[in-house]
Amino acid sequence: MQYQLESDLSEQADYFEVPGAHLYTVLHAVADPVARVLLVGPFASERQNSYGPWVRWARYLADRQIEVLRYDYRGIGESTGVFEEMTFTDWHEDLRLLSNWLNDRSPNLPILLHGLEVGALLAAKVFESGNGDALLMWSPTPTANVALRSTLLRWVGLEQLLRYSEERKTAGDYIRKLEGGSPVEVEGYQWSPKLWRESFDFELPPGMDDEKLATLKYERPVKISILSADAAPLAKKGIVGGGDEIKDLSWLYSDNYDWINGALAIPAGRT
C-alpha cells in the first residue's frame, strides 16, 4: 500500500483554550479560501466510530477551497476535561467560542455550521443565536435525549450478545439507574445523571425541524439530511465493526457539497 497523500493540504492540529480545558482542533487550512465550515461531530462514543468519514469529509471540502475547522468536545477524544463533569451547556458554550474564533479569522468569508446528530443540535443552537451564514444538519434529533437513547440501545444490543442471559441488562435498567441518580458507563464513557436530566431539555430551536420553515424563520439557508444506513458509520447502524467503517462516501459528500456551494453563494469557478 502506498501512503502518498492524496493532496498537499495543510492540516494544523492545535489546542483551543476554553474555561478549564483545552479543545483539540484541526484546521484544514487552504490558500485563498472561498468559505469556511465548522464541523460539529457526534457525541462521545459515536465520535470514535465516525471519525474516519468525518475527517475525509473535512478533506473533501478543503480540497475544494473551503477552509474547515473540526474539533473534539471538551472531555472527549484529544480534548482535555473530565467527561463525567460535562453538560450540554458546556459543549454549547465551547462551540460558541470556537465559532467566534473562526469568524474572526476572516470575517468577510461566509461560514457554514455543520453538525452530526448531537453536533447538529449544538450547531443549530449557535446558529439560532446569529452565528453562521448557513446551517447543515445531518440526522439531528429533537432532543439530546433521543441521541443518548439511541446510543444506549445500540450499546445494550451489543452487550446482550456478549453476556449470559442472567447477566444481561436492558436499556430500561440503565435508564432507571440514571434516573435514580447513579452514573452509567456506556462504551467507556461515564454518563452522569445530570447529563441525562439535561438531555431532555436540550432541544432543537423552534422551527428547526423543518428546513423550509427554518430557512424562512432564520433568514439563512438551512438543510436537514436524515442519513440512511448507507451512510454508516456516520449514521448509526447496529453493531460497529461489520466492515462499514472504511468505505467510500463520496456520493454523500458530493450531494452536500453542491448544496453548500449554493447556500453560501460561492461564485462559479472559485472552487
Binding site: E11, V55, T80, Q160
Partner: protein
C-alpha cells in the same frame, strides 16, 4: 515550535514522506520543564490504532493509559497509522484484510525507529489492542528499536469476510437470547469440538500463520511480551469457547522456556477493556510490567505517583495458577 499543553504535546512524524500524527504524553517529571533529552534508559510506550479507531481508542481508554504511564514517569505516545485518525492516506476499503496480513507492520516499524530518534529514546514498547495487536507483533518482529510488546485481546485467526445475511444475524441473536437456541448452540459447539480434537494440536486452516510466525520471532528474540485476554461469552478464563482452537496454549507452546511471555486474564471487562474495571486493571498490570522490565532511574521513580501494584503471573508460573487457565 511544538503544540503543547500541560503534559501533552502534538507531533508529526514525517520520515519517508509519510506524515503520521500523534500525541506525546510527557512523563510527570518533565511536565513543568523543557523535555530533557539526556539518555537515562529512556523507553517510550507507543499505542497503535485499534482497527479503524482513532488513536484515542475505545472510550478514550488509550488516552487514559498513556496519561497514567506518563504519570509513572514513562514517555507515552499515541500515533495514528496511515489512513486512520488524523493521518492521511488513500482510502483502503479492505482495511481488515490489510491489517490481518501485517500491512501496517513495515511502516509501524519504520515509524518506531523515527519516534525513538525524534524523542531520544533507547527503545519503544508497542501496545496494540485487537487488530492493533497484529500490527504490534509484525512491527516488533521487524524492529530493532522495539523492546517489548503489550497485546490486548489480539486474535490469531483470519476472520471470514463473508457478508452475513440478515437471517444469519437474527439466528445468532436468537441463539444468544433463547433457551432452545442456547441448547442448539451448545450442540453445535460440541460438534465443532469433536472435529477440532481430530486435528490434534495443529491450528485450524483459518489460523493467521504469518502472525503466529511473527509471534515465534518476537518470543525468540527474548522481548518481554504481555498478552491480556478479556473474558468472552462461553470462554471462561483464558480457555477458548468449546470447539474453538486454544491459541493461547499454542502460543505458549511456540515460546521456549527462556522467553519473557506473560498471559493475563482481566475479569469484569470486555474486548475493549474500556470500562472502569478494564482500564484500571490494564493500567496496573502494565505499569507493574514496565517497572519490572524497564525500570526507571530512581530519581524519576521517586517523583512518580504511587499506585497499588498488582502482581502479574509470568509464563513460568502459568501452570500453577489455575484461575488463569
Amino acid at each position: 515550535m511544538p503544540v503543547a499543553i500541560g503534559s501533552r504535546e502534538l507531533f508529526t512524524l514525517d520520515g519517508q514522506g509519510v506524515l503520521l500524527e500523534g500525541t506525546y504524553h510527557r512523563p510527570r517529571n518533565l511536565m513543568n520543564c523543557a523535555p530533557v533529552r539526556g539518555k537515562s534508559g529512556r523507553v517510550g510506550v507507543l499505542f497503535v490504532n485499534t482497527l479503524f479507531l482513532p488513536r484515542t481508542g475505545t472510550g478514550d481508554a488509550a488516552v487514559y493509559w498513556a496519561e497514567s504511564f506518563a504519570d509513572r514517569g514513562y514517555h507515552a505516545f499515541r500515533m495514528d497509522l496511515p489512513g486512520l485518525g488524523d493521518s492521511d492516506a488513500p482510502l483502503n476499503t479492505a482495511l481488515l484484510d490489510f491489517i490481518n496480513a501485517g500491512g501496517y507492520g513495515a511502516i509501524a516499524s519504520a515509524k518506531v525507529k523515527e519516534l525513538a530518534a525524534r524523542f531520544d529514546l533507547d527503545g519503544v514498547v508497542i501496545v496494540g489492542q485487537c487488530a492493533g495487536g497484529i500490527t504490534a507483533l509484525h512491527a516488533a518482529a521487524a524492529s530493532e528499536t522495539c523492546k517489548g510488546v503489550v497485546l490486548l485481546d489480539p486474535y490469531f485467526f483470519l476472520p471470514q469476510q463473508l457478508k452475513k445475511s440478515k437471517a444469519w444475524k437474527r439466528l445468532v441473536r436468537w441463539a444468544a437470547s433463547s433457551a432452545v437456541g442456547g441448547a442448539l448452540s451448545k450442540t453445535y459447539d460440541r460438534m465443532k469440538d469433536i472435529q477440532l480434537s481430530l486435528r490434534g494440536k495443529r491450528p485450524p486452516g483459518n489460523a493467521n500463520f504469518a502472525l503466529l510466525r511473527r509471534w515465534s520471532e518476537v518470543a525468540a528474540k527474548g522481548l518481554p511480551v504481555i498478552l491480556f485476554k478479556a473474558p468472552g461469552r462461553k470462554s471462561p478464563g483464558t480457555k477458548p469457547r468449546v470447539g474453538e482452537f486454544d491459541y493461547i496454549q499454542h502460543l505458549l507452546n511456540l515460546s521456549d522456556r527462556k522467553n519473557q511471555v506473560e498471559i493475563q486474564l482481566i475479569e469484569s471487562t470486555d474486548h475493549s477493556f474500556a470500562n472502569r474495571a478494564g482500564r484500571s486493571a490494564i493500567r496496573d498490570h502494565v505499569q507493574h510490567w514496565l517497572e519490572v522490565h524497564f525500570p526507571l532511574p530512581r530519581s524519576i521513580e521517586s517523583i512518580a505517583v504511587t499506585s497499588e501494584v498488582v502482581v502479574t503471573v509470568n509464563e513460568m508460573d502459568y501452570g500453577n495458577h489455575a484461575e488463569c487457565l
